[in-house]
Symmetry: D2
Subunit: 337 residues, 4 copies
């Protein structure tokens, strides 16, 4: 479906709905989590990272989420405030639920795994009554992180947000963001992912995430067919990621643009996706040509796999531009195409 | 949305998805449940009653549901089999869940209440993997009973059935059938009811049930506006019930037809709705004029409030016709208009 | 351990702790529950039956239990009140839990089975804070029904009652009353049953129930060894039941008395145990010789298997005596020895 | 009750039952947990700390516990193995439960608080079937950590261990170790704590912990009455701790010995208790005079509040003796009496 652009009269650029959590990345990495002794604490969770990323790129973002009523909840709130993220709809759990923790095992530049604490978890306690029509209407777009659909009551909160976004003509950006934790079976994933995807203007996901989403409705589609399928619903842009092979953005006009990662010496194999999403969305909000959005996204992604943290290392526009210029100087103008 | 009629090539007329349960109605009624000493057992549950009703009207119906793995489950299965309901997709619980029980308190013709056993209940254990695309595609229509949306995993099973009905061009009949039991909050009701309603060709509910459904999307609509709202989605027929005041069916062409109950001496104040639904749907499947569908529905409803049971007392076409003829002879041709 | 008799200064004879529930026995019996159509409602649950039995024998009994906050809870309360059972410590559930239901399948005089509704069940919601030291101290003895130990919070309530009975020198009567429902594993049964048994003055159970109780502490004991084992703790009387073969009471002095059932034409194969317990305990409270206690118990048991109900058919002292006299006249003086 | 000493023929000195968990102590302490950025990982959990403490003092100890089936579980297992703790009865969770985490906030030498992750927690998944009579019988004593009683199934595992310790004449050491987490109400605490305390030969707890334990049976006792109360059951030694004021050990012969902390510059206000317990128990196993046991315990406690970790900083016998000698040299022979 053709997209007519964002409503520039709305004060916020983007409201993100989903999890804010804590990453604990080992300082003594390149060994197992059993062997690592010291951990650095970062704000984490994909939509929280994207929120910080966009805010550092000078976009006005708000966050709808649920955090723990303890010192770690304070940490999330403090960090968002310092980063300039609007937190009027960031609320506290009432029954002792805790913030999600992700301990990262960095075995090498290419191998990593995570150990997650996600029982009785704060972010999935977001409730339908926390969703405020006026807040959604105040934003040019609403980003739904797919993990918010994994369990009740957060699931109903996300679905309500989707309903109210439709009602208020707020374009939906769906970051599929699949995490096996908390889901019960593949049908459940397909049901809720497709309910949101069919209402979304922009969809971002990996090949595997689209396969999960389409399992019941349209199994077996390739990338181009996938894009066509969702564009026949309400999508204007469908981004399909293939890890180190790069990614492609398809438009409802039938165009597509592909991008490869910038060559870097990675410290870790994760974190790139959130840098990519925030910089790519920055370009969209700026009405950049899609190719430029992708380039900025890819550059941010590459910068993040070089760094230890994720939210804490989100780059400014200037540093991304410097990085792009330096990469092109070293590897040639078409380094990522 | 205009409805082009049912696909006559499909072998089943209707597949119903929802609960089969047990009604225990006191034989020594017109006293409280504490005082009643003897109870008669009936197959119950709104969609089970409608299935039996339609089957007695010679329609071919199938049932998607979950029953207990005990003697009461046997009873449901035996009853369906005796009534000619297709039960290849009626499955048994694996973890000791029990069939719902409804003890009915009949205080007078006009006053009744119910005492329900619905903890760890069989019908809500229906799972997404129990839903079979080919079975849905074998039916001219799929009826979703709203109670199936009240909790997981039945909720996901119902949503999957809706998705597969869309995929296979199977019209959806949504019987809102609200029961307070098992729902957690009003937003949840509005979210799931509207997700199904917006995909349905025929919607049947009371004024209160539409209000619950529209609470977030379009609060405050009257009957005519309600009909228009859903016809702007996919509905062809919107039936709104007002208890003893009768009911009105609205079409997407803008027509409406109203009906009143037939005058009868009631034994109890419940059970009419399922008689209504089964006879009304019979008319639809027969391509009758809407007015005739409503008359048959209203007659069946009136016959059921006179009787002690519900499924067990579903009338045949001939007995409904006799009842209508006798009523008209006694009260005049326009007795229910 | 030698027992010095009950403290006659205490106003209540017995306080019973455990479940009150509802029995629904088919009126059209000798067929399966799937086939039976009509059910009669009775107050049920082993300790409730014993309470009614003892009350009809003119003993003063009180009941500590939790019932549903609905019409069926009213029924239990009304029935206890009519039967003269003291109900100041019978309280209502606050979260919608329901009274247990037992549908009885009576296939023949000898074969029966039950279909139980025991999810989110009222009786197991009894809480430690419901246990009142003064109430326990007001009774000559405290009867603990083993089923109350099956799950929290009732488990802690029963253990607290045991502690307070010890503290107030109130003899404990332990009716092991094993029901598979609600227990999670055999070790759990052995742990909690033996914790209560080792504090009890009178223990009543079947051979199988003692085996469950002794599984960890002393597996493989025969009846006489079983009695000796518990008498070495605090038991004065150990009753071991063998169904239709009769039962034996062992004393801490090393005596034992055996009894057989009275010959009767049974209607059903259950209900006898609660008649037995109430009449046997009546004899104990009256300081009868153990042999006479057993005879009265056995007679009451035989009378109950002849009748349709259980609590509702508990006999008076006079009718038991008449039954014994008639049986002896017909079958000889030693009919049950 | 008089204690005749440990059975020297048994190969293990002590088997401990309870939690092994992870402590994450900030390296940048003396600020809030929200502000701290870097954490050091230690093996934690009171009985795990005591196990390591005793092992470093050359006692042979085994551990009965449940750990997560992930890298953190590996860490616990590796650490125990390195420390020489026998781990044949340390088993893994099967349903994804996680190791408990304790983030410590060290605000000053005197103020600290903790943020615990204890939902779906590994240690409380210990099951009755994990308890092995032969293993308990192989140890001179069994230590039960009170936290293991906080919830099922660990509660039943601990009660079974107590039953089997009685059966095998294995003296029980009860470390009350109260943690508010996971308990539901004060009666529950009193019921289970007193069930274990009444079977224990050695009881160790703070004044507050004894008050919780005695709440139902004997409220309002002072220290001396508390000791007398438990010695009238099976206790030979009752240790009552008063934090910085020191502690007193009471014997069933009526003696008592008091001790004060050694003067040290503390880094943190926690961790001392486990050092105290391990060194005190070392003395008991060595048949030392009680006064010497207390001195060693107090010295170890003081050494631990000076250090950053807990298990990792458990001292050897030689270092404790050096510490005592230095303290006495500096502060006088009676520094802790």
């Amino acid at each position: 479906m053709k997209f007519d652009g964002f409503d520039s009269s709305r004060p916020l650029d983007l409201v993100l709905l989903g999890r804010a959590a804590i990453d604990l990345n080992p300082l003594d990495y390149y060994k197992t989590l059993a062997e690592s002794t010291t951990y650095r604490k970062y704000l984490g969770g994909s939509p929280a990272n994207i929120a910080v990323g966009l805010s550092r790129l000078q976009k006005k973002v708000g966050f709808i989420g649920k955090i723990s009523d303890d010192r770690f909840g304070d940490f999330v709130e403090d960090t968002f405030r310092q980063e300039g993220v609007e937190i009027s709809h960031l609320t506290r759990c009432k029954n002792g639920e805790k913030l999600g923790l992700t301990f990262t095992e960095i075995l090498s530049e290419h191998e990593s795994s995570i150990l997650m604490y996600r029982h009785a978890i704060a972010d999935l306690q977001l409730e339908a009554e926390d969703i405020d029509e006026a807040y959604i209407k105040s934003a040019k777009a609403l980003l739904i992180s797919g993990t918010s659909l994994a369990a009740s009551p957060s699931r109903e909160a996300a679905l309500k947000a989707v309903m109210l976004a439709k009602k208020t003509q707020t374009p939906i950006i769906f970051d599929i963001d699949y995490r096996a934790y908390n889901w019960k079976n593949p049908d459940e994933i397909a049901v809720y992912y497709s309910l949101v995807a069919q209402e979304s203007t922009v969809i971002i996901g990996s090949r595997e995430e689209y396969d999960l989403t389409q399992r019941l409705l349209a199994p077996g589609l390739d990338d181009r067919e996938t894009a066509r399928f969702w564009c026949a619903k309400k999508a204007a842009i469908v981004v399909i990621k293939h890890g180190k092979q790069g990614s492609t953005a398809y438009t409802c006009q039938g165009d597509s643009f592909s991008i490869k990662p910038f060559p870097v010496k990675a410290l870790k194999s994760f974190g790139g996706g959130d840098g990519y999403a925030s910089a790519f969305l920055y370009g969209l909000f700026e009405n950049w040509p899609l190719r430029d959005c992708l380039e900025l996204g890819s550059a941010s992604a590459s910068m993040l796999v070089k760094s230890h943290g994720c939210s804490a290392d989100m780059p400014s526009l200037e540093t991304i531009r410097t990085f792009i210029a330096e990469s092109k100087a070293e590897y040639g103008e078409d380094v990522c195409f």
